[in-house]
Point group: C2
């Protein structure tokens, strides 16, 4: 049976051909389009995402910047990052 379980973040492969922040951006985008994160939902805190993905805060910031530019998410200082 297909249970819509939380798909754990795929740890970043720092040696892979794809830049780390693009790996994170791609994975987050997939989790959003898959419905794991629905519109209005708040994503985990950026620093928590960094732990999940096994990467630096800076890398998550770059990733979320990409998704913000795409209009996929909205970030509010002091509150969090939300799915558009």
């Amino acid at each position: 049976m297909l249970t819509m379980d939380r798909m754990p973040a795929t740890p970043v492969n720092p040696r892979g051909p794809v830049l780390a922040y693009l790996q994170v951006a791609g994975d987050l985008a997939a989790r959003i389009t898959s419905g794991e994160f629905a519109p209005g939902d708040r994503l985990p805190a950026e620093r928590d995402l960094a732990v999940e993905y096994g990467c630096a805060y800076d890398t998550v910031r770059r990733a979320t910047a990409v998704l913000r530019d795409r209009g996929l998410i909205v970030t509010v200082h002091g509150r969090g990052t939300f799915v558009s």
Copy 2:
């Protein structure tokens, strides 16, 4: 006599009300519009700018990102940053 001497970069005041990277962006913009850096000119290397301004490399990166967004400069990987 007014000599068009090189105006040294104003060191960043990290305690000031203006964000450090905006201070750098503003100063660079002023040096460009004043003609110190003319179109086609290459700016000093980002790390040299960091030394000039007494700030971190990251701060210069943020500043140049602002000027790039404004179309004031163009950055080429491995070559440098040029006035548009």
